[in-house]
Amino acid sequence: MTSENKAPASGSIVVVGGGISGLTTALEAAEVGYDVYLLEKNPYLGGRVAQLNQYFPKLCPPTCGLEINFRRIKDNPRIKVFTLAEVEKVAGTPGNYDVTIKLNPRYVNEKCTCCGACADACETEISDDYNFGMTTRKGAYLPFEMAFPSRYVLSPQIIGTEDAQKAKAACKYDAIDLEMQAKSMTIQAGAIVWATGWEPYDATKIDNLGFGQYDNIITNMMMERLAAPNGPTKGKILRPSDSKEPQSVAFVQCAGSRDENHLPYCSYICCMASLKQATYIRERCPDAAIYIFYIDLRAPGDRYEKFYKKIKEDKKVFFVKGKVAEVMEDSATKQVTVVAENAVTGEKTRQTVDLVVLATGMQPTAAKVKLPADLKYNADGFILNDYEKGGMFAAGCANKPADVVSSNQNATGMALKAIQTLARK
């Protein structure tokens, strides 16, 4: 008796999205013995978690788990990874799909040795999305140190410019191919798992919270990059206006979440993320006062509760129950005053701080652009799962806002749902 009895020969699974959920679904299915195509639109795997400094509540680096997952991919020929890949069309029915994908050019082939000569040769600086625009990078770049695949990429912006020629000339290994074109291909698959993830809610839309207007207001995802050793400040937390260490920091919870004008739902992770980021600040700025303005602190589950309790022991972390209504900048000091109504006392609380962190929530990627497949969404753009119909499933934050643990649980389960579709034939 072997596992192959359970898997039809033609049964393969397409996983769309190479973030932590997509990686999990792909690996868990492949390790049962199924062929998996993992498609990622970025030039690297890892998605959002690759931008995080640490996970809560263990305060461990996400690259630790990613590295193991990358090794699992390396050791498992059943997984085929396509980066810079987008799904263009899905035709067919459960058990029998044709998935047309577009592979965007990387302009760097498999001969790349990661020597970095191409980047050294480029001159133009391009805003770095990986660091949310807080730094620039060259037009030829390695997305980040532990990126998988470990290969440089040329930004489409430099194609046709002198920089591209310089990069090509600098490569000793004939790894740069400026003629590379986008190409289409069609994959036959029995099931598709959409792990298309989330985007940080656009903080500029929250007019009253001053993001984009005042220098010293950043988002929680920007804070992750600031705290990361490979971030724009090499792990130092510095306020943008003058690159000084903040002596006081305010976290504005539910920045956009639980708000009918923005995201009506709770984004699940932001409370824990701010508690975690309080530890980043405490580690680097031992005396900084930290103010957390919240509606409810949601630390679901024993492990998170324990973490919250630990943060409460910090006498310089102040919790204020109240929703922040407005922010003001002192144009001279660049300090920001946060105004909130204390929900309990009814008083207006004003707190002036050096740095404000907006705990912005998560919006499903599919909220803005619907996916090219016959899928159903809720009003907020989360994909609804129809287990009766089968065939296509959403995993992780494409399905609902969740933390990494829950996303991975969910993504593991979705691997089974996909397998069921194949086994049903």
Binding site: E31, C64, I68, N69, C114, N230, G301
Partner: protein, 778 residues
């Protein structure tokens, strides 16, 4: 396999610019090997060149090029042994020639000068050549017969979901349920929380439908009024003995002796024979774990979905809430039972309870914690039950006092729908007291959204008690494992059978047994059903991995397994005790009985064994020991000021990648260290350290993951066990008149690439301060 060796040196990526390739070739020649070079080994031409070599008979390749983390697929040659000598990241990139200059022509002829970087490369080549002589291609371990059946423990919503999911994928499943019918906790519910979009109203319990589906599924067998007496054996062939609750049978699982019984009156450890005698007495009437039940039923893998019990609210902490003293103060579980019976009536006199206060947090001393084991579920349950009052009575009123309304994610929609109900009052509040008064109850709270002080009159009070995992009270799964019948170390998770890994929620210390639902974390029905799917997948995956003879996570696909040379076993039991996964069961004498499919291939047993009788095909005492011995240790006979030699045993999971990234960033560290990747620090056998020191190396360090409560070790215990062993090694060093400081262990996280060079350099400096190893040159 008749080995035919080949040594190949890549000249690309700065290797040939930095190193004297001819000198490397002569190092190979010294060992009787002919080294061949290629300008770019990973290029299509380079790979063709290697393939031709293989076609010509080479089957054991030493590739001197880049780190094994890259070009893994390019250099995968099935049927060949491949060693990756890491010249690029390990030597050249982290030792740039501007910091580590080459010898001048003058120095080359002078005699007393040496090139540290070249020496490093030559050592790594020697080490690679030594290793391939000592390793073999792995052959998978396969059971004679594998059971593909899945056992699900617990017939509640989680267990039934897992069973249905596994059955739908084509697997046969047996559910055992200790009660006389399926359903579990959900049987007692009037309504339940939403399990899907739009999450805005209560729904009828899904449990009845699940029961019907289970009963209609030909692949699912249900055994009610049944529990697991013992689960013996290993994944792929678990032998399970069932029994009726309350029965005492021969195959009830025996328990290990408690710590106080392991020693005599003076605190001295008892000998094996006495211990075994005591163990038999302690477990009288129960067969030893190695006695296999001939009537046991075989299963391949297990889903543990044993669920939860309502928390008991006992003690002074709750006295102010009147629970136990006032009959109309009940827990949420008790309230649910009342609501299930019909219109809500007060327990004291059976009169309608039209006004009910729900208390989510014990309050009183300003602590904003909810009741223990609450999770986020009890907030939602309070809202659900507040709705019951409104369903039953047009003029019914519910008050919910909370510290934090925990309705995370899309459950916020349910909270919002409750907020629309004019008869449900929701407020933050610190409840001071519940007392009898005015023909009902009087609840006093402070610090509320409705005023500083608030008094509410109510017919009933409901306390939001938490969900205690049943594994807190009882092992349930009753593993016939020498390490004991329960999941290990679950105190760390308050009794939940959880994994400590954020990325790998199903990976516990017990292979092939996957916990799901409320036994893992307090969960809503929706979460529990999802979790069940995940656990079912893991159970199936474990079975297919066993079938292929490969390991499961984190060394998924690894075909090696530990091999024991039993003739030399001294029955010290260390391997059995230290295995993080309980893979070994020793017999009465203490000889370990391996269970290869429980094993996760970390090598902790190999590290633990003082007789060095445990090894893997491609990773063993001799393979690493030979690498250590292959390191040249220059002495004063060679140079007037010989360089230090420091050995680093480096965990391949986190520390080794960290070093690669340091190299990618051109961060450099001492060229006097020699690094050997190990599967886990737990696999480090102290003999390697002793060997290194006795051949004159000046220091040894271990580089691995964080240990402690938030351990990052992928094998749970490896770095912790290594640190214990390192403490013990101090005595051995002292007896050799060596300073204990010559051996150290450092923790690094994978993103510490900017710190790791400093860690290494500081250690090398401290060794230099100690001076050379006195054994050098002997």
């Amino acid at each position: 396999m008749d080995k035919k060796y080949g040594v190949y040196i890549c000249e690309g990526c700065g290797i040939a610019e930095s190193l004297e390739v001819d000198a490397l070739k002569s190092v190979a020649a010294d060992e009787g090997r002919t080294a061949k070079t290629h300008p770019i080994l990973c290029s299509p031409e380079g790979v063709d060149f290697l393939k031709k070599e293989i076609a010509d008979g080479v089957n054991t390749l030493v590739l001197c090029a880049c780190s094994r983390r890259v070009n893994y697929d390019t250099f995968r040659f099935d049927g060949c042994i491949v060693d990756r000598v890491n010249l690029r990241e390990g030597v050249v990139w982290c030792h740039p020639r501007d910091k580590f200059p080459k010898l001048t022509e003058e120095e080359k002829t002078g005699g007393d000068a040496f090139d540290r970087v070249q020496m490093m490369a030559e050592d790594y080549l020697r080490m690679g050549m030594a290793r391939v002589q000592k390793v073999a291609l792995p052959e998978p371990f396969k059971l004679e017969t594998t059971s593909e059946k899945i056992l699900v423990i617990g017939g509640g919503v989680t267990g039934m979901s897992a069973a249905l999911d596994a059955a739908k994928a084509g697997y046969d499943v047996t559910i055992v349920e200790k009660e006389d019918r399926l359903g579990g906790a959900a049987l007692n519910w009037r309504s339940q929380l939403p399990v899907g979009d739009p999450y805005d109203k209560l729904i009828p319990p899904v449990i009845e439908e699940k029961i019907k589906a289970v009963q209609a599924d030909p692949r699912i067998t249900v055994r009610t009024s049944t529990m697991v007496a013992r689960l013996a054996g290993q994944p792929g062939e678990f032998t399970v003995t069932f029994k009726k609750p309350g029965e005492k049978i021969q195959f009830d699982v025996p328990y290990p002796l408690p710590p106080e019984m392991l020693v005599d009156e003076s605190g001295k450890e008892l000998d094996a024979e006495t211990l075994h005698k005591k163990y038999l007495e302690y477990n009288e009437g129960r067969a030893d774990i190695l006695t296999l039940d001939p009537d046991g039923e075989l299963f391949g893998a297990v889903v543990l979905a044993a669920g939860w019990r309502p928390a008991k609210l006992e003690g002074d902490a709750y006295a102010h809430l009147g629970y136990g003293a006032i009959p109309d103060v009940v827990t949420n579980a008790e309230f649910e039972a009342i609501a299930k019976k019909g219109k809500i009536a007060r327990p004291s006199d059976g009169k309608p309870a039209k006004s009910v206060v729900f208390i989510q947090s014990p309050g009183k001393d300003e602590d904003d914690s909810d009741f223990s084991y609450a999770g986020a579920v009890t907030s939602l349950v309070s809202l659900k039950q507040a709705k019951y009052v409104r369903e039953d009575y047009e003029d019914g009123k519910s008050f919910v006092f909370y510290q934090h309304m925990r309705t995370p994610g899309l459950n916020e929609n349910f909270y919002k729908s409750i907020q629309q109900d004019p008869g449900i009052f929701l407020t933050k509040g610190n409840v001071l007291s519940v007392a009898k008064g005015g023909g009902g109850l009087m609840i006093e709270a402070t610090n509320t959204l409705l005023g500083e002080k608030l008094k509410v009159k109510a017919d009933m009070v409901v306390l939001a008690a938490g969900m205690v995992p049943v594994t807190k009270d009882d092992p349930v799964v009753n593993m016939a494992y020498r390490q004991g019948p329960a999941f290990r170390d679950i105190d760390l998770f308050n009794g939940y059978c959880d994994s400590n890994f954020i990325c790998f929620p199903y990976e516990t210390q017990r292979t092939g047994i996957y916990a799901a639902g409320a036994v893992r974390r307090s969960m809503t029905t929706e979460e529990a059903m999802e979790d069940a799917s995940g656990a079912a997948l893991k159970a199936i995956q474990c079975i297919t991995s066993v079938n292929r003879g490969v390991s499961v996570h984190p060394r998924s696909g690894d075909m090696t397994f530990p091999d024991f040379f039993f003739q030399r076993c001294t029955q010290c039991k260390r391997c059995t005790q230290e295995c993080p996964f309980g893979a070994l069961d020793d017999d009465a004498k203490g000889t370990p009985k391996p269970n290869p499919t429980r094993c996760r291939r970390c090598g902790t047993c190999m590290g633990a064994c003082p007789e060095r009788i445990i090894g893997f095909a491609d990773y063993n005492i001799d393979s690493i020991g030979s690498m250590v011995k292959a390191i040249n240790v220059p002495s004063e006979d060679d140079y007037s000021e010989p360089p230090m030699r420091v050995l680093g045993l480096v965990c391949e999971n986190d520390a080794y990648p960290t070093l690669d990234i340091a190299a990618l960033n051109k961060l450099s560290y001492s060229a006097d260290v020699r690094l050997i990747p190990v599967r886990c620090l737990g696999s480090v056998n102290v003999i390697w350290i002793k060997d290194a020191l006795s051949q004159g190396m000046d220091g040894v360090f271990l580089l691995g993951c964080k240990h402690g409560d938030d351990y990052q070790c992928h094998f749970v215990k490896g770095s912790e066990l290594a640190s214990i062993r390192m403490k013990k090694i101090g005595e051995a060093l002292t007896s050799l008149a060596l300073e204990v400081e010559r051996v150290a262990q450092f923790e690094v996280a994978i993103d510490d690439y900017d710190k790791v060079p400093q860690i290494i350099n500081d250690f090398v400096e401290s060794i230099e301060a100690l001076g050379p190893n006195p054994f050098k040159g002997f």
